[in-house]
Symmetry: C2
Subunit: 239 residues, 2 copies
């Protein structure tokens, strides 16, 4: 708490390159309920998204962090909005706009149950095998990136891939309308999902940068410094 | 660590009513992978199972705690085996036998994906709606309770229900072959799932006991004291 207070003070006293900017960040997994006790989840720990929030705050930004269920400590000095499902995350994100920059680091569930059972599903109801109908969740990154007056000047997405990492990330950048995609390989054995280190490829309109392996904190600091540099040019380009 | 060492010493120096007994306890949820990043989970925090392990250890038992993924501190003085899926939990439980008493407090997933995808499922593969085929997991409580030389003298199951709590628990006791069922209502709003307090009904062969609302620690102490009392009679009955 004292460290957070000091961080806040420093951020106020030493205006950084993101001073006066509103940075919106999503973090963590989403949980999609199947019935009152079961849900579909994913292995996102929220470490990367929370590190990004701290890095943006350290550069002087006003940060809104919209986070799914994580077991991390709440970062100090940021506006934290806790959500559970993808729909709740989208609603919170749209409420938080306008923002100068949006970084979608959450691992949003692509699908949710087509119908959430009001009572706990019983084994006897299903027999040996059951089939679960899933429907697509809203696409938060693509929604934020839709052109218009509310679109942040810089929209950054994450792509967690297990194969063809860079090609999938390039395709995702185009499909979502994002400015940058941070891509990484979350295959079994890389240790990135849930771990403290990461190795990413930054996909921008100008090409691909392969960043070396580094801590999620260092990656966050580097990405935010890059973004702070790019932001004024993007703004003047749009004006 | 010092507290744990003291607890262990006390357990050794002051033989309690479960001294020399092996108590096997399952705790937490299980996670059933759908692909490298997604899984089906449930809302069990493991608080009740871990409280039972501490209570059994405090009464002098040698405790084996088989736990799914939880964010609780590891209890000291017990043999802790961490697992992820229902199948891994069953394997660990069978490896830990023989035991004098087994308490199945884990919220084991009833279903798992019929096939785990080796690569991350992509939205583009599924289109708007997808169907997920699930197959039944092994039934750990029923497997432990099968009559035979390896069956613990006292087999206790938990029933987390959202409707007809006692009737479902009585049916579960018969269907699984358990000696006792601890039943509680985990409906939205009761706060039991993940919370610190619980309100249970103990279903035995002799009938139903409605216990008042109490902390999960107090419930654990009361249940273990009850079980320690019952155990010698059960053993002599079986011999």
């Amino acid at each position: 708490a004292i460290a957070n207070a000091i961080e806040r003070l420093l951020a106020q006293q030493q205006p950084g390159p993101l001073s006066g900017r509103h940075v919106l960040i999503t973090s963590g997994p989403t949980h999609e309920p199947l019935d009152p006790v079961r849900y579909i989840a994913n292995r996102s720990s929220g470490k990367q998204g929370h590190a990004l929030a701290r890095a943006a705050q350290a550069l002087g930004a006003h940060v809104t962090l919209v986070s799914g269920p994580v077991t991390l400590p709440d970062p100090g000095g940021v506006t934290l909005i806790k959500v559970e499902t993808a729909q709740e995350m989208l609603d919170a994100v749209l409420d938080a706009l306008p923002a100068d920059m949006a970084i979608c680091a959450a691992a949003v569930a692509d699908w949710r149950a087509a119908t959430e059972a009001a009572q706990k599903l019983k084994k006897e109801d299903g027999g040996n095998d059951v089939s679960l109908s899933l429907e697509q969740n809203p696409d938060i990154l693509a929604t934020i990136a839709i052109p218009g007056p509310q679109r942040p000047d810089l929209v950054i997405g994450f792509a967690a891939e297990t194969e063809n990492v860079v090609d999938n990330a390039k395709a995702k950048r185009r499909a979502k309308g994002a400015d940058w995609i941070v891509a990484n390989d979350v295959s079994h054995g890389t240790g990135i999902m849930g771990g403290d280190a990461t190795r990413v490829h930054l996909v921008t309109g100008a090409g691909i940068e392969d960043w070396p392996s580094m801590s999620k904190d260092d990656m966050a600091a580097r990405l935010l410094a890059r973004a702070a540099e790019a932001l004024p040019n993007l703004r003047s380009a749009a004006e």
